[in-house]
């Protein structure tokens, strides 16, 4: 029996789950591959609480689904995440355009023990950083981010 995939979901991934977007086909593709446990953090939820209002009121459904345990909250406080991300800030901020919250998400994913990182970020280096830190990234990382991940691994 295949092992359940434990995956950290970025806010843009949850957006494409609750709203139909150009990326939603990838969400369906992931879902069709079998069961998975989706992990979120308070930083991800904060992003959702802002971004979801840009397209409707689906944040209400997300909050309800959290209570219904459709997702696992990793349970780290914002302060925990910031303190734990200190080294990541220093290591990656000078080397790519990655955002502050993105590094908090990657830190949360690693600390919780997620194997997968679900994100549609592009051009920021977020997915490349996740890959450089040995998370499996979905959708699959393309050449540009793969090259960046290689460089990021080398420039520690």
């Amino acid at each position: 029996m295949p092992q359940t995939r434990i995956a950290f979901a970025d806010a843009n991934w949850l957006f494409a789950l609750y709203y139909e977007t150009r990326a939603s086909a990838q969400v369906r593709r992931w879902a069709e591959q079998g069961p998975s446990t989706l992990v979120v953090s308070q930083a991800v939820l904060a992003e959702c609480r802002c971004n979801f209002w840009r397209a409707g009121d689906r944040i209400v459904a997300l909050e309800s689904d959290l209570r219904a345990r459709r997702f696992i909250d990793c349970g780290y406080t914002f302060e925990d995440l910031v303190a734990g991300s200190k080294e990541l800030f220093q290591r990656f901020a000078p080397r790519c355009n990655i955002g502050t919250l993105d590094l908090l998400h990657i830190h949360a994913a690693k600390r919780f023990g997620c194997r997968w990182f679900l994100s549609f970020d592009s051009a920021s280096g977020c997915r490349a950083v996740a890959l450089a830190l040995k998370l499996k990234v979905f959708p699959e990382v393309e050449n540009q981010d793969r090259e960046l991940a290689k460089r990021l691994r080398l420039t520690v």
């Binding site: 806010a11 843009n12 957006f15 494409a16 789950l17 609750y18 709203y19 139909e20 977007t21 150009r22 990326a23 939603s24 969400v27 369906r28 879902a31 069961p35 998975s36 446990t37 989706l38 992003e47 971004n51 840009r54 397209a55 409707g56 689906r58 459904a61 689904d65 219904a68 345990r69 459709r70 997702f71 696992i72 925990d80 355009n97 990655i98 955002g99 502050t100 919250l101 993105d102 549609f120 970020d121 592009s122 051009a123 920021s124 977020c126």
Partner: protein, 68 residues
């Protein structure tokens, strides 16, 4: 065979609080708690894909993709 799990409390005072709450046997209390949590399977998030899912504009989605 005995297996051990170490726990690092996330805040000061948690250990004392746990000792008070979990009397008389912290080990049994924690084991019960873990078994309950493991038994409580999360609902399947994939059901969301079968419910109401409004279409978002490209602009709204693009804003989610910007580094924050």
């Amino acid at each position: 065979m005995t297996e051990h799990i170490s726990l690092r409390p996330r805040r000061p005072g948690l250990k004392a609080e746990l000792a008070r709450k979990a009397r008389p046997n912290i080990n049994a209390w924690l084991n019960d708690l873990i078994e309950r949590e493991l038994a409580a399977q999360p609902n399947d998030w994939r059901e969301i894909l079968h419910g109401e899912r409004p279409v978002a504009s490209e602009e709204a989605f693009a804003q989610c993709l910007r580094p924050e």
